[in-house]
Amino acid sequence: MAFLEISGLRKRFGTLEVLKGIDLSLEKGGFLVLIGPSGCGKSTLLGTIAGLESISAGEICIEGQRINDLHPSKRDIAMVFQSYALYPNMTVAENMAFGMEMRGVPKLEREKAVAEVAKTLQLEHLLKRRPSQLSGGQRQRVAMGRALVRQPRVFLFDEPLSNLDAKLRVDMRVEIKRLHQRTGATIVYVTHDQIEAMTLATRIAVLKDGELQQVGTPHEVYNRPANLFVADFMGSPSMNLLEGKVLRSNGAASVVIEHAGTDPIVFPAPTSADVATLTEGARVIFGIRPEAVSDLEGADGNSKSIATFTGQVEIVEPAGSDTFVVTSIAGKEVTARMRADSDIRVGQSHVFALNLDKAILFDPATTHRI
């Protein structure tokens, strides 16, 4: 049995069901990121693990122990809140020690634990200050310290970085990753930022409208999204999705995409799809990430299958490290990632190369990957 096991979890508010049967598991030392658009139920799910929200059906277990009906303080968890939720009337040291104080840990032991964690998080010089005298990043570290100091079985993070400015967010992200690697803590982390999810997680669970869309490693979720929603939600800029039709000849399948004005573009079916299931004339959605679309020189030399098409350059977005180029196929926008120094101008006609190894097909009716 996994370290953290959630099965058949349902949560209703009156007649509104916000979690519709969630099954999740996480091994010890794992980092599970719950991600989804606002209102998808990810924070509610975290709340049910914490015990701050009751559940309508299902089961939550930590190390095989059913914790459904345990009070939050009895679950041996610690939570880092979005607003940090530091007690304004207490110093940093008192904030960190409060949980232990409530559990009757002797003063000397508390001070020792606080000193240790403060050293890890470089908070030693701040211990006597109050939260109002700290910067955003420092508050964030104190909130993490308060969770760490108790050495709980599971850490819960509720969008901990969303109140920080962009630069600090990246720094703290690295710090959380380092902390996870060093302490081997088991973490459940809620975010709506897919970069945080990709960089931090050992497992990502994508939620939408209270239902799990896909659970897997960041690599799986990114490269083999289970459905159109996951494909579109993960990745920035998001995946190019084009409508097409299947064409079969001599056992091989290709995808035909109508291109306005010119001949239709025909690609061999991507290697990721199960060719046998494709029937002649079936409608499919062809998905390819921007980094798999580039100019001919930039195309991946290791790729087994490259297709090309000629498109009009509509927008050029230099992002520093890369340049994103927007063109279109059949009236649908297609974003390509080029080298930063590529000499490309708006209005030009340009040959684009698609790395079909990275392409995937979806069934438009079910939205699932083929």
Partner: protein, 315 residues
């Protein structure tokens, strides 16, 4: 012009004729109303520092020719109050203190507890309960006098039975305890309103964090809520202190003779029908009666407005 000149040049201020006139009018009006507001106090202080013949014979705005503290001493410890044997208002002053302090403390604490439950531990029907508590704010004093008298009478009977049984009344039937009860019950609507609105804006995540940290219901209240409630506590204390200290109706109805609070004693002193009317002593007594509320306002007043805003903006 050098750089130094630029730095030291005074900032330009709008000095058009209109703005000067506006300022004169505004400050003139403020000064005028401040004087109007202060006149009664000035007259009282003047009168209390003059011997009686100077008060009755002279101009009430005139400065005392031979200033004396004798009226103050007389008011505090010698003047006869109504038909009572007690001399001076000092005893009644202490009566009021003994009534006000527990009443303010209890009603404030209970209000805070109510506000805490009504915002952070919501139960079905919490809105109805709060609505009914608010109702207490709109009930006039006079209309509760008879029901209150019935209840206090009942408590008095219990007290008598306790005295028969144990020789001690445990506070039942004691006029000061009765008044504390009246004021706590009557004040609860207001204190609950203040604290509920304040805690409505209080971050619930702090309560959740404390729950995960293992703090119980009262520990969260005492360690997290209360220490972060200073502004609203001050507002409530000022409001309750002023109301209870200044109350005359409950005091004159439910306490008699030596047990009366300050307000009733002041009335009895001023309305005394024997001998000459000692205006200077009356004035001194009135100032003494007003002093505690004035003191509370001066010490904590700046929090009053701030706290009222804090509670009012969100909720």
């Amino acid at each position: 012009m050098s750089a130094a000149d630029l730095v030291t040049a005074p900032p330009r201020r709008p000095t058009s004729g209109q703005s000067v006139i506006t300022r004169v009018v505004i400050y003139g009006l403020l000064l005028f109303f401040a004087i109007i507001y202060l006149v009664p106090l000035i007259v009282m202080v003047m009168a209390s520092l003059k011997p009686l013949d100077e008060v009755t014979g002279g101009n009430m705005f005139a400065l005392p020719k031979s200033p004396t503290f004798a009226p103050w001493i007389r008011a505090w410890g010698e003047a006869s109050i109504g038909v009572s044997d007690t001399a001076g208002i000092s005893g009644y002053f202490m009566n009021s203190i003994k009534m006000v302090v527990p009443a303010v403390v209890i009603s404030t604490l209970l209000g805070a507890l109510n506000g805490y439950v009504l915002t952070k531990w919501r139960f079905p029907g919490h809105k109805l309960v709060f609505g009914m508590m608010l109702f207490a704010c709109f009930i006039p004093f006079q209309s509760v006098i008879i029901p209150m008298a019935v209840i206090l009478g009942l408590l008095g009977q219990i007290g008598n039975q306790l005295i028969d049984a144990t020789g001690f009344s445990f506070g039942f039937g004691n006029p000061t305890v009765n008044l504390v009860l009246c004021h706590v019950v009557y004040g609860l609507g207001f204190t609950t309103l203040f604290f509920r609105n304040y805690y409505e804006a209080f971050p619930t995540e702090l309560v959740k964090a404390a729950m995960i940290d293992g703090a119980g219901f009262f520990q969260i209240f005492r360690r997290v809520l209360l220490p972060n409630s200073t502004p609203i506590i001050i507002v409530t204390v000022i409001y309750q202190f002023t109301n209870i200290w200044n109350d005359f109706l409950f005091g004159s109805t439910f306490a008699a003779g030596d047990q009366s609070p300050m307000t009733v004693a002041l009335n009895n002193l001023v309305n005394t029908s024997t001998g000459v009317v000692e205006y200077n002593v009356n004035m001194a007594a009135a100032i003494i009666a007003a002093a505690p509320t004035l003191f509370v306002y001066v010490v904590a007043g700046r929090y009053f407005v701030r706290g009222l805003m804090a509670g009012a903006v969100k909720g």
